[in-house]
């Protein structure tokens, strides 16, 4: 294999990894702070993609979608948290799963009502179309854009969690809710904010993924299982863990098509199982940040 092809595969894996990372970091953040496993997280991803289609369709401009679609998802997330998630904080995990599964079904059909059953496609903006030459490899410009945004999001989250007061509140609440309460942190409000951020991230991932693939129903069901695998491998609640998990899965998807086209998907689950058996807390433990 030439270096050029290898690099193309590597970049493919990196692009995938970045879209995974953005959505997985949202999922893991929500779990880390709220201790909620949200099966409807993939639904925000799907909503982000569909909103992207709609906004580019109406406004003719991908950039508006990039800015607004994640915020619409965030608003949806905030509403979801306040109305549906709040009542179940004390309940055991099976109920959370049942509830979020119901939400997933609900959102899936709402998408169906508004956008019908046909699949949609979105074209990347003109300025990002075409290929770029890097290290002798010709690679789509848009994919580079996705990679860069992924890195920026990672940096943004890191700054948020470590350098801001808000971030300190998040980390405090994830360690111990009662103590955090005692310290005067308005925990319910914090939870809503975190859930909103998580939804924002999932929506953003959907926006970025939209031009890369076809947009259709059932995106939610497949995406959520991949996101779950990633956060388990990386460590439930750990953002750097989500990054590692995403990189792993992204490259696996990419090189797997080349070398182990038959069972590449199984490897992800095998890895997930190995981690759970050897080091259940994931590669990087379970502290947020």
């Amino acid at each position: 294999m030439t270096f050029s092809t290898f690099f193309a595969f590597f970049l493919n894996g990196l692009t995938n990894a970045m879209t995974f990372f953005i959505i997985a970091s949202g999922l893991t953040l929500i779990y880390g702070v709220l201790r909620i496993l949200n099966l409807a997280h993939g639904s925000f991803f799907m909503l982000g993609a569909f909103f992207t289609f709609q906004l580019t369709h109406w406004l003719g401009n991908f950039w508006y979608a990039l800015i607004f679609a994640p915020f619409i998802c965030a608003v949806a997330g905030v509403l979801m948290e306040r109305i549906f998630i709040r009542p179940v904080y004390g309940l055991p995990i099976p109920f959370q799963l049942l509830l979020t599964f119901g939400l997933m079904l609900l959102i899936a059909d709402i998408v169906r009502i508004f956008w019908g059953v046909a699949f949609r496609t979105v074209t990347e903006p003109q300025v990002l179309s075409g290929t770029m030459n890097i290290l002798g490899t010709s690679y789509p410009r848009y994919n580079f854009f996705v990679i860069i945004i992924g890195i920026l999001v990672g940096i943004f989250i890191w700054i948020l969690l470590t350098k801001t007061r808000f971030g300190k509140m998040i980390r405090a609440s994830s360690s111990d809710r009662e103590v955090a309460n005692g310290l005067g942190i308005n925990v319910p409000w914090l939870y809503t904010a975190v859930f909103g951020i998580g939804a924002w991230l999932a929506g953003l991932s959907g926006v970025l993924a939209a031009p890369l693939r076809s947009i259709m129903l059932e995106m939610d069901v497949h995406t959520i299982i991949e996101a779950f695998a990633i956060v388990v491998i990386g460590g439930l609640g750990s953002i750097p863990g989500a990054l590692i998990g995403s990189l792993l899965l992204g490259q696996l998807n990419s090189f797997g098509t080349l070398y182990i086209p038959r069972f590449e998907m199984a490897f992800m689950y095998v890895f997930m199982a190995i981690i759970l058996l050897i080091r259940p807390k994931g590669l990087l433990g379970e502290e947020v940040g």
Binding site: R112, F119, G130, T257
Partner: protein
Amino acid sequence: MSKKVSRRKFLKDAGLFGAGMIGVPLLKGVSRGPSNAWAAAKPIKFGGIYSLSGVVAAWGKAGQQGAMMAAMEINQAGGILKRPVECKFEDDACNPEFGVRKTRRLVLDWGADFLHGFNHSGVALSAVPVLPELKRMLLIPCASSPAITTEAFNKYVFRPRANVYQSGAAAGVIASKMPHKKWTVIGPDYSFGWDAWGAFFYHLQKRKPDVECMQIQAWPKFAAGDFTSYIVKLLEAKPDAVYTPLWGGDFVTFLKQAKRYGFFEKIGAVITEGGLAVDGFYALSTKGGTESEVPEGVWGAAHGYWFDHPKTEKNQKWVEKFMSIYGEYPHNVAHDAYGCMYLYKKAIEKVKSINTDAVIEAMETMEFDTPGYARKMRKEDHSAVCEVPYGFTKKDPEKVGIAMNLVDIRDAPGKDVIEPIEDVLERRAKRTPPPWMKYVIKG
């Protein structure tokens, strides 16, 4: 231009939205004739199961369009045996489990007398085995894996159109005239994809023994959504030519992604069995339908029918009528679903009864017409002796909304391309996999 395009879009959107709601019982009592007798006549119920949602929703919708158009016409002309035709449609969502359930539901709950449908071969293969317990006929206007009439065959299933053995033979003729030696495939990972490629290469190699079936092939799952890794993998292997059974939304997505990598410039020839059906053209048209993303020079069969061919008066009139009702060019599935309804009519009227066994017996040896072609049913496996068209893409601004056309279409003669019946019967008896499966290499 804008008026026609927006009407088409409206009908399309309305149709899609309508497809989201469950089957509409239609068309009862739309005709002349003494209203008392007509109103009192018990309708003959035709149940249609198509993929009305998902990646190939346009193909399911086309089936609905064709069947409804035929049903309306038939009712306007007095129905079948002076009874009105009633239609109901169910969505299988490309899901074999749904296919079985909906088939059962149409017969047991709604009381369908006759069935038609199935776009996806996998779904069809699952549904065919339940026909004997339901004792109902099924006419298939789209799904084209040969397994349906070979391994999975029972007397209730009919396929009044070509299967991929036949279209593979037609493609093999064309490919054998090309100088390309190294062929590979990117296709959906299920029976239709395997059979389409395998049969094609099987025929190609018989005509041109020096071609090479490359070891590196791409088999993304059906409705994959992201083909980029496969595209890079194929380009790396540097094939001379590529055959692709990708269809519906998969083909559209693939084409968009492949263009980013300069796929069509790097590959000598691309042949697609069903990718360039009319829905693909609509999806890939840009700037309000005046331009297209489809490259020129891609070979396609449009899955057995292209509206602009043959240029007979009958076909052209039909296309015009279709356009006036639906605002778009007819899809091949619409053409064949239309043909299915009329085939039913012909067979039922011949035996003057709706008794399933009698109609089967009449239909097995029947000659019948579709708007484009004249076909004949073969008794032993209920497949059709029919032509298979192949042409290549070229810009054509006169084609409203798609700006492209398939030109230089030649029809491979029916009796040349159909699989010899001895082979079919032998495979059925021995239950061996088809000889072309050895060309499917998955690594």
